[in-house]
């Protein structure tokens, strides 16, 4: 029987109070070893137990053999931001175990594989050594797959040590493998073996426990990229062109998974969409531009390097006024940077993407639910505004699994924007001008190629043009056109999703944030509140900014802009929008490739306030 190494005992907590549903578990493995399934299973099992959870995958830019970490946070109070350290470690990777153990919170516990040959070195941590390889034999899988089964061994051990509900684990596996018994069975076998072994060989010496709650009823769990793809599908996406790139690939993958199920012709079962893997990102946006011009709801998804390559077409689309939806699942840059790390570093590059006086409309989803919503809304906006719309998500929202309210069905009808039909043209006796601002909102009326009217055609170009779309180099034509585009951008401010505000009476401090930092901000505010520091919160959901931002800044003594990048990019845009208040706006930016923690916000804010 394995007993805890003397050095390690007595673990300080062993006597103390149990710690229930309020800790983080880090699981350290090698990628390509099959641990993702094990980790996702644990996460979903906790979720099904009604415990608020979040899971974050910290993986290398590599296919097999490199260290990878998965962190699960269980939070009674429902805080789901990353925490800087974990209380529990499952150490399967010999290469990193020493450092992994060092990172554990004092009083933490560690389950480690015998195969690591590790000798415990912290007296304030409870250690459990498990014979993962031996347990894997129970899977019945052949030699090559043993390595995979070892992951189910730690699942079994955690079930026993932490009190995870076995039934929920089975349910999670069933969900995970879509009921494929053949795939599930070996996992269950290994888990059962591990549970038995634990019962027989481990003595619980740590305080960490998981107990059922009722906090996740009716919720769903999903990643942001899949949510975005589903949103796009319910928004009627008909064309997608993409080029593989981490962390955006899974968005296109989700389109390829769900479109065949949801979008085929009832009789012929033929697809009512097409998805093309382009040769690169220039071509991807080129195809989307062609399809958007032709009247299809067209989108692409990419990340930083792809955004850079899309610059020319982005400027073309802005100037030629062609609807397009471009998802930027942000990763750490500049350049190739850290392909598997999160950042919010594309804000400025996208806002002014393209040479000349180009500027763009951007949506900033802050949750998987907003990924779904903006998935369809982006098409309405792109077609209404006749311009490329960028959706800036990031690796954390996009690739990690999140609890969420169920998705809500798109409000009202699709907005297909200003399109003249053959009937309209007949009524107008073919008299129309593509770029005339008949409605005063800066948006002209377009026709779609294929409109069955001899005068439906017009000429689309990236060069200077008149209201009737003919080529012109005349100064007055150029100026008039640019003024109209300016008007259109003002129209956009009003049509975009407004910021979500929580103004607190008597708060001197205002916090502005967007995207994946929301959970950290929420947790930080409650900690600050507990310390008597009142803060208001404005979460941006789109650019360009609308007036509410100025009034928010005006209403507070000091406004801190929380963001994950090195150049405090949103801070700069907020200052530009509020010149006379610019001095009140301060950056609260951090950029180490990891999701933001509440602790960092609280500590840094306190420093800056001091």
């Amino acid at each position: 029987m394995t007993i805890v190494e003397p050095k390690a005992s007595p673990a300080p907590h062993s006597a103390g109070e149990p710690i229930v549903n309020d800790f983080s578990i880090t699981i350290a493995t090698k990628n390509g070893s099959g641990s993702q399934t094990a980790n996702a299973t644990i996460l979903r099992a906790l979720f099904k137990m009604g415990i608020p959870v979040s899971g974050k995958n910290l993986f290398p830019s590599n296919i097999q053999g490199q260290p990878t970490w998965y962190t699960i946070r269980a939070s009674r109070e429902g805080f789901i931001a990353r925490r800087p350290r974990s209380e529990i470690l499952v150490a399967m990777n010999k290469a990193t175990i020493i450092e992994d153990v060092q990172k554990l919170e004092p009083g933490g516990m560690c389950v480690y594989a015998e195969g690591t040959g590790y000798v415990p070195q912290r007296s304030d941590v409870t250690f459990y050594k498990i014979p993962a390889e031996k347990l894997a034999n129970a899977s019945g899988l052949d030699g090559k797959l043993r390595g995979y089964a070892e992951n189910m061994a730690y699942v079994g051990v955690l079930i026993e040590l932490l009190g995870i509900d076995l039934e929920e684990v089975k349910a999670a596996l069933d969900w995970h493998f879509k009921g494929k018994a053949k795939a599930i069975e070996p996992n269950i076998k290994t888990i059962s073996a591990a549970i038995e072994w634990s019962r027989a060989n481990l003595v619980k010496r740590d305080p960490y426990k998981l107990e059922p709650m009722d906090k996740t009823g009716g919720l769903i769990m999903i990643d942001g990229n899949t949510a975005g793809a589903l949103g796009a599908i319910f928004g009627g996406v008909t064309f997608a062109a993409w080029y593989p790139i981490t962390p955006a690939t899974s968005l296109a993958d989700a389109l390829n998974v769900y479109l065949p199920r949801l979008r085929t012709d009832p009789e012929t079962h033929k697809p009512t969409y097409s998805v093309i893997q382009a040769e690169d990102e220039l071509a991807a946006l080129g195809m989307v531009t062609g399809a958007g011009w032709a009247g299809a709801r067209a989108m692409t998804s990419t990340s930083g390097p792809g955004i850079s390559l899309m610059s020319e077409f982005a400027g073309f689309g802005y100037f030629a006024e062609i609807p397009a939806v471009i998802w930027d699942i942000q990763r750490m840059g500049p350049s190739t940077g850290l392909p598997t790390r999160v950042s919010q570093g594309d804000v400025l590059a996208v806002y002014w993407l393209g040479h000349g006086d180009s500027k763009h409309v951007m949506l900033l989803p802050g949750s998987v639910k907003e990924c779904f919503e903006f998935g369809w809304r982006a098409f309405d906006l792109a077609e209404r505004l006749q311009t490329p719309v960028f959706v800036l998500s990031d690796l954390d929202i996009g690739m990690n699994n999140w609890m969420s309210e169920p998705f809500e069905y798109p409000e009202g009808q699709m907005d297909r924007g200003k399109v003249l039909t053959a009937e309209d043209l007949t009524r107008l006796e073919g008299k129309w001008a593509r770029y005339r601002d008949v409605d005063g909102d800066g948006i002209g009326w377009r026709t779609l190629p294929g409109t069955d009217h001899p005068l439906a055609a017009y000429f689309t170009r990236g060069t200077g043009h008149t209201e009737i779309a003919t080529y012109s180099e005349r100064p007055e034509h150029w100026e008039a056109n640019m003024e109209r585009l300016g008007r259109k951008f003002e129209t956009a401010r009003q049509l975009l999703p407004a910021p979500v505000e929580d103004r607190v009476d008597g708060a001197e401090i205002g916090l502005i944030a967007f995207g994946s930092t929301d959970p950290a901000v929420v947790e930080a505010r409650s900690r600050l509140a507990a310390k008597g520091v009142k803060t208001s919160y404005l979460r941006l959901r789109a650019l360009p900014l609308n007036d509410s931002v100025e009034s928010f800044v005006r209403a507070h003594e000091r406004v801190y802009v929380v963001e994950l990048n090195s150049d405090a990019q949103l801070t700069q845009l907020v200052r530009l929008d509020t010149p006379e208040l610019a001095a009140k706006v301060f950056p609260l930016n951090h950029n180490d490739g990891l999701p933001l923690t509440a602790r960092w916000i609280v500590e840094t804010l306190e420093k800056m306030e001091a």
Partner: protein, 346 residues
């Protein structure tokens, strides 16, 4: 300015006059080969009696890419960015396969900056007529070499091209194009039927059309007045004066070789494929034109055509209704589908 000329009055099956198939007045140089190609395009669409508004004409950037403004004035036009017409055309075609897609490009646009997009659009089998108006130079930016310029050829400024040249038709054959032809801008008798055949081909049809540039195909040894202009422009070291000239026309028999003298006296040897040539043998087509190329002859005619091409839509199996014509009902899976999905994510 050149106006594309045509007989008046005569109408086609749709009862449309040829005038309907014209565009705005050309702003290209007098005698530019590109204008002759525009005339051939007008002729082809007129003769096939196709409704102009069922045609989409797309291009990149360049003198050649300007031409869609000068033909089919009632067709849907799209000047994209330099070298990227193929991707835009691909997207438009997938959104609406019901139109005829005509892609017009130049040798700089397709062989230099756009070589990748050219290749990938061909590989995908996009149903289109892809015409490269090939003059071996960058006309609009004043006469630099393009990637189709012969190795060793001299530019107006006397620079010599040291890169080996790209034969777009040969590459198209390599990449699986299902229709590959080559012709000469001045050979209306050959060009018009080729364009018509390409329009009717249900796949990626590529046509490489040699199209002399009046302004910049201007080497030593050309006519008297030419030498003066060259000296003049060389001396001032910028392109200042362009001698107006008439477009070059040729007419020669199948199976024969025609030596075409360009405005500057330089010569092209064109070999028109013989009547008994087998246009359904890809490997044969490659060898045939490579062999003659080695002899300094440019083979013209329909080099290869696949009898039953499969276009990208066939490959993807998309529905019959053009995607851009699907109704909201067909586009949105509906609320019950969403409920199922929500349920599946618990």
């Amino acid at each position: 300015m050149t106006t594309v000329s045509a007989p008046k009055g005569k109408t086609n099956k749709l009862g449309l006059e040829k005038a309907i198939y014209r565009g705005l007045e050309s702003t290209l140089c007098n005698g530019c080969g590109h204008d002759s190609i525009s005339a051939a395009i007008i002729e082809a669409f007129f003769e096939l009696s196709l409704p102009p508004h069922r045609v989409a004409k797309l291009s990149g950037i360049g003198c050649s890419s300007k031409t869609p403004t000068y033909f089919l004035g009632n067709s849907h036009g799209f000047n994209s960015v330099h070298g990227r017409m193929p991707s835009v055309l691909t997207g438009a075609n997938l959104a609406n396969h019901d139109l005829i897609y005509l892609g017009v490009s130049g040798d700089g646009d397709s062989a230099s900056i756009g070589f990748g997009q050219f290749a990938h659009a061909i590989r995908r089998g996009v149903n289109m007529v892809y015409i490269v108006e090939n003059n071996g130079v960058y006309g609009l930016t004043k006469g630099q070499f393009s990637a189709t310029a012969d190795r060793g050829s001299k530019s107006k400024r006397g620079a010599t091209n040291s890169d080996s040249s790209i034969d777009l038709a040969a590459v198209a054959l390599q990449l699986g194009a299902t229709f590959v032809a080559r012709s000469f801008s001045g050979d209306k008798a050959q060009l018009v039927p080729i364009i018509k055949a390409a329009i009717e081909h249900e796949g990626a049809a590529f046509i490489d059309v040699l199209s002399p540039c009046v302004a910049f195909n201007n080497h030593i040894g050309s006519t008297k007045s030419f030498d003066y202009v060259r000296e003049h422009n060389e001396a001032v070291n910028f392109l200042d004066f362009i001698t107006p000239r008439a477009p070059i026309k040729v007419a020669y028999e199948a199976g024969t070789v025609e030596i075409v003298e360009q405005h500057d006296g330089s010569q092209l040897a064109l070999r028109k494929i013989a009547a008994d040539y087998d246009a359904h043998d890809r490997l044969g087509a490659m060898t045939f034109s490579q062999k003659h190329a080695a002899e300094g002859q440019i083979v013209t005619g329909l080099l290869y055509v696949e009898r039953e091409p499969e276009d990208l839509h066939v490959r993807l199996g998309t529905v019959a209704t053009p995607l851009n014509a699907l109704s909201e009902k067909e586009l949105c899976p509906g609320s019950s589908a969403l409920e199922k999905i929500n349920a599946s994510l618990r």
